[in-house]
Symmetry: C2
Subunit: 138 residues, 2 copies
DNA sequence: TCTATGCTTAGACTTATTCTAAATACAGAA
DNA sequence: TTCTGTATTTAGAATAAGTCTAAGCATAGA
């Protein structure tokens, strides 16, 4: 399936410039959850002009802000980018560091859904929300 | 309950120096999931000698390596430290940024266990493990 | 064509973290 | 005790991710 990147960007309110298109194209083409520098390395050279790191960061931030991609953190301090916006979680292969998408589902079924192929060493749930009533301790 | 920090460090194979003790003491005394700089600010001045940032980082890394504390990432790119080593997850208050400990339990019970006080906006499960059989796609 | 706005660029800057080299501390050997 | 090797700490240099700045470029619309 060939992505219509131009339309994807337009419908999300991001003007589709050549730089942005090639960055978005790359993100949509991979499941590798690349870092900003991974994106920069993969994409420079695909344009007739030189590509600035600032543009990569500006574009990644814009795409995150507009909901085209998301940031993913697996190892402390490392930011990765993910064009898969479906409801899913991440499996980190502790041998290779690879980050694999895991479709969401009721959480207590994760083990079953994963099947024998994945041996869970540990997992961590991070919840984002609001505390109402103000009496939760720091 | 007064923590015996000296013994805690010793039993984990970390030689209890004054710098390490005061850092560990601070981590054990708070639920705030502080950053490295938070730790530095809180702890410098509690020693007769000056405290180096390098020592703070060295100590935090050593305590993580020895399993005395853990790293926690909630916002992309920000590393926090947590002396709570019980099996628990984290609730991030999206208004204040506060990180609150949530005891583990079967994951499908999380909503019930949290109760009315917490309004879940979203959550994310990160799983660490191994892929066996080698046929999982990146 | 003119102009305003937005986009991109190179490089400077900032900030978090690691590294380096020298000084200190100190446990154990003698 | 003193000696001595190893670990620890320190200040500051170095690195790396990310942001900011100022200038140039592109282009949509008047
Ligand atoms: Mn960001
Ligand atoms: Mn670390
Ligand atoms: Zn993903
Ligand atoms: Zn915690």
């Amino acid at each position: 399936m060939k992505h219509n990147v131009e339309e994807l960007l337009s419908t999300h309110g991001v003007k589709p410039t050549p730089q942005r298109m090639v960055i978005a194209e790359y993100l949509l083409s991979t499941h590798s959850h690349p870092t900003a520098d991974d994106v920069f390395q993969a994409v420079k050279g695909k344009l007739p002009v030189s590509l600035s790191r600032a543009t990569v960061y500006n574009t990644l931030n814009a795409l995150v802000a507009k909901g085209v991609i998301q940031e993913v953190t697996t190892e402390a301090g490392r930011v990765r980018y993910d064009a898969n916006m479906s409801d899913h979680h991440h499996f980190v292969d502790i041998e290779t560091g690879n980050v694999i998408d895991i479709p969401a589902g009721t959480l207590n079924q994760i083990k079953l859904e994963l099947g024998d192929q994945y041996k869970i060493r540990s997992f961590h749930v991070t919840i984002f929300g609001e505390v109402v009533g103000g009496k939760a301790k720091e």
